[in-house]
């Protein structure tokens, strides 16, 4: 891991945040959509253009409701692979200026440019150049905050939006910060904002002026101390260049309170299918399978298992994940249903050597999870055929019968990936 060397008193951390990313990409691709209120999504709005936001349309809102708020709303299907490609191109532009790029989602990254100023000029100059090149090369708007810490840079980019840049001078950063509302603090959602408001705190300055103990009493010691520190721009986190992907994961939030094992199975299979095909595309296999489930009351539980030999077939990942989800439910559900399932596979190896098994035909489906077994070889061949068909004829060409017959179109599964840190995608 390479850490940024930014001294806390120079403003050399950039937070770059693409504006209404999916919607903007769609508007770039289809000029007839430009200037119009559009939403990307299926059953739920995944992203809304600024024109749609003006009507109150927000992401995560059911499409029906969004249409009522904005009758002229144009809803378009997303194309996730396009977004990934464009995102890669944009953050590659950032890497032309500094190797210290920490991408935290498909449309956001932190940069530490403290070592780049002698080549490219002041951080603000670098930010302006990045904005210019992104606009030039992709047609998209990216907002940038430049500050002495990651926290303040992120606050800056939020203030700069849309299509703007703010350089926060360290000499006056506290004044700048204290004038802002608490909801701009990373991690302060509506609930925390309301709790703070009930204490009479609406600006970051008021938060900073309140005794830490008082906040901790209301918010809990950890959260209270954290908020108080941020209110004084105390954020020791450095920009870290991400490792090569050490895991591949996907998750799907379906909301509500789902208890039907058949439904869980379908979600798990869909996730396993995506993870498997990404692993195989990268010529990787992994030994540790982890699942994360969220219960209907937001509690999250994880379970993991490590195999003797790395696997990459959809069937193996699905079978292990299904078992782990069942374990999590048995051990922790206490009657609650699920609202999210996530799967990730780690301990990855590149083009693994495969110790083959003797064709003994000893076991039923159990062999699927053992790399090199007859079942595994069959599944590997099947996956290779499916991968090839999809490469040639498109993603929707082949799917497991049960998932095709389901026929309901909600949020495309692949968007679940967006909730996962980039390094794990």
């Amino acid at each position: 891991m390479i850490d940024g060397m930014a001294s806390s008193r120079t403003a050399a951390v950039l937070h770059c945040d693409l504006d209404a990313f999916y919607a903007s990409v769609e508007q770039q691709k289809r000029p007839e959509l430009r200037g119009k209120p559009i939403a990307v999504g299926g059953g739920v709005v995944l992203a809304a253009s600024y024109e749609a936001r003006a009507f109150g349309v927000r992401s995560a809102m059911p499409v029906g409701r969004a249409r009522r708020m904005c009758p002229s709303l144009i809803v378009v299907d997303g194309s996730f692979s396009d977004y990934l490609d464009i995102s890669d191109r944009i953050f590659d532009i950032c890497r032309d200026f500094t190797p210290l790029v920490e991408q935290i989602s498909i449309d956001e990254a932190f940069l530490d440019v403290s070592g780049a100023t002698h080549l490219f000029g002041e951080p603000g100059t670098i930010g302006a150049e990045i904005r210019h090149r992104v606009r030039d090369e992709t047609g998209l708007a990216i907002s940038i905050g430049v500050a002495s810490t990651k926290f303040l840079a992120k606050v800056g980019s939020q203030v700069a939006k849309p299509d703007g840049m703010i350089v926060v001078d360290p000499a006056t950063e506290i004044e700048f910060l204290h004038a802002l509302p608490t909801r701009l603090i990373w991690g302060v959602g509506p609930v925390t904002e309301r709790k703070l408001a009930e204490m009479g705190i609406t600006t970051i300055g008021q938060l900073a002026a309140t005794e830490r103990n008082v906040i901790s009493k209301r918010m809990g010691r950890g959260a209270g101390g954290h908020l108080h520190a941020l209110a004084w721009n105390k954020d020791p986190r450095r920009v870290r260049r991400e490792h090569r992907a050490g895991s591949v994961g996907a998750q799907r939030a379906f909301g509500g309170d789902h208890r039907d094992p058949e439904f869980h199975r379908q979600v798990i299979f869909g996730l396993a299918d995506r993870i498997g095909s990404r692993l195989r595309k990268k010529d990787r296999a992994g030994r540790t399978v982890s699942v994360r489930v969220r219960f209907s009351d937001q509690q999250v539980v994880s379970r993991a298992t490590t195999l003797v030999a790395p696997v990459a077939t959809t069937a193996a990942i699905a079978q292990i994940a299904e078992h782990l989800v069942a374990v999590a439910i048995t051990e922790a559900a206490e009657g609650r249903g699920l609202s999210l399932i996530g799967i990730s596979i780690s301990k990855l190896v590149v083009s693994p050597h495969l110790q083959l098994e003797l064709p003994l035909e000893t076991d039923g489906a159990g062999g699927i999870t053992r790399a090199g077994s007859l079942h595994d070889l069959e599944r590997t061949a099947l996956d290779a055929a499916v991968d090839q068909l999809r490469d040639r004829f498109g993603k929707e060409t082949v799917a497991k019968a049960s998932s095709m017959l389901r026929g309901t179109r909600g949020v495309p599964d692949e968007f679940g990936d967006l909730a996962i840190p980039v390094s794990e995608r």
Partner: protein
């Protein structure tokens, strides 16, 4: 219960029976060994309920009786006493172990809690030479699985093949077969290798009676007995895996192959296989590990067949070659993705079938 015995004899019967005692048994009573004195005979029983080992010793019995004492502690306590006579007395919930000065007083376990175990079992009875039997078991045992999730593969199959006894084990990556022509065969019986591994140390290598029953297998020598619950499952059909003949045949010195694979193993951690290029002039052995480096060498060997490159896991290959009794081994192959067969020159009794690694 009150006895006197020689330190070394007593330590020996306690330790051997204690080999059946699991180190992490959920039941405290199973951490103990049962000591029973009747007439002049001490019988010690250790069990994890699947495997039971009984040892006996002629002692000077001053008072008959039964007690359960902590297996490991009691055996070690006796062993560490000064040489000579040791006396062991159980009374009032304590066991006193003394000899030439030192005195242990150990808390007794409740003798009534000790599990009731079957005494011997009915079945086909065989007489075998302990030394050759345990060595045959260790030859096939390398191929037995340690994976409790696949219990069938943790056993050694005993079965009749013509008028010989055949032992077979597989962990699904390799399969070892050992024929013992001097012993009559039996109905197929699957015995956990975990128990068979203990036979030599628990019972010595003298003449051994083997009884294979419906539920248990029993092994007895003049030094004691071991019984184990058999695995009630069908062993996979392995016969189809052993073809009559192979197109390619290599003959190589056992030590030169073992030495070469040993050198390759230095580089080949983490399941990286060793590649064997087999050709008229012998073997070109190589191993490459991306971040570390490589090792290559030529091994003199006789080869008949098509030139072929096949890769094996170094540990599995070493296990199989080491298990061969002869000085020269035969490696027969047909295809880089099909199992190779390892045996000894002029030795049909032991065969080791090894699945390759796909590169």
């Amino acid at each position: 219960m009150r006895i006197r015995a020689e330190r070394d004899d007593l330590a020996d019967v306690l330790a051997r029976a204690g080999r059946a005692v699991g180190t992490r048994s959920p039941l405290p009573i199973l951490q103990g060994v049962l000591c029973e004195v009747e007439g002049s005979r001490l019988r010690v029983t250790g069990t994890d309920t699947d495997i039971t080992i009984r040892t006996t010793l002629e002692v000077e019995a001053l008072e008959d009786g039964r007690t359960v004492i902590p297996a490991k502690l009691a055996a070690e306590a006796v062993r560490k006493l000064p040489a000579g006579a040791v006396s062991m007395t159980a009374a009032d919930g304590e066991v006193e172990i003394t000899g030439n000065g030192p005195r242990f007083r150990l808390r007794e376990l409740n003798v009534d809690d000790f599990p009731k175990l079957p005494e011997g079992s009915e079945g086909v009875s065989l007489s075998v030479d302990g030394a050759s039997f345990t060595s045959a078991l260790s030859q096939v045992g390398v191929a037995a699985s340690g994976d409790e999730a696949r219990p069938t593969l943790t056993g050694v199959l005993f079965e009749g093949e013509g008028d010989t006894m055949r032992l077979v084990a597989t962990d699904s990556y390799r399969l070892a077969v050992r024929d013992m022509p001097d012993i009559a065969g039996t109905e197929p019986t699957l015995v956990p290798f975990r128990a068979l591994r203990e036979l030599g140390r628990a019972l010595g290598e003298g003449a051994m009676d083997v009884v294979l029953g419906d539920r248990d297998a029993n092994f007895a020598t003049d030094r004691g007995s071991l019984s184990v619950r058999i695995i009630e499952a069908n062993f996979p059909n392995y016969r189809q895996l052993l073809p009559e003949s192979y197109p390619n045949r290599l003959v190589v010195s056992k030590t030169s192959l073992l030495d070469a694979v040993g050198r390759a193993s230095l580089v080949a951690e983490d399941h990286i296989p060793v590649r064997l290029n087999l050709h008229d002039g012998g073997i070109e052995l190589s191993v490459t590990r991306q971040e570390v480096g490589e090792e290559t060498e030529h091994i003199e060997a006789e080869y008949q067949g098509e030139e072929l490159t096949i890769a094996f896991n170094t540990r599995y290959l070493t296990d199989g070659v080491s298990a061969v009794a002869s000085d020269e081994i035969v490696l027969e192959t047909s295809d880089p993705l099909k199992p190779g067969l390892i045996s000894g020159v002029n030795d049909e009794a032991f065969r080791y079938l090894l699945m390759p690694v796909r590169l």
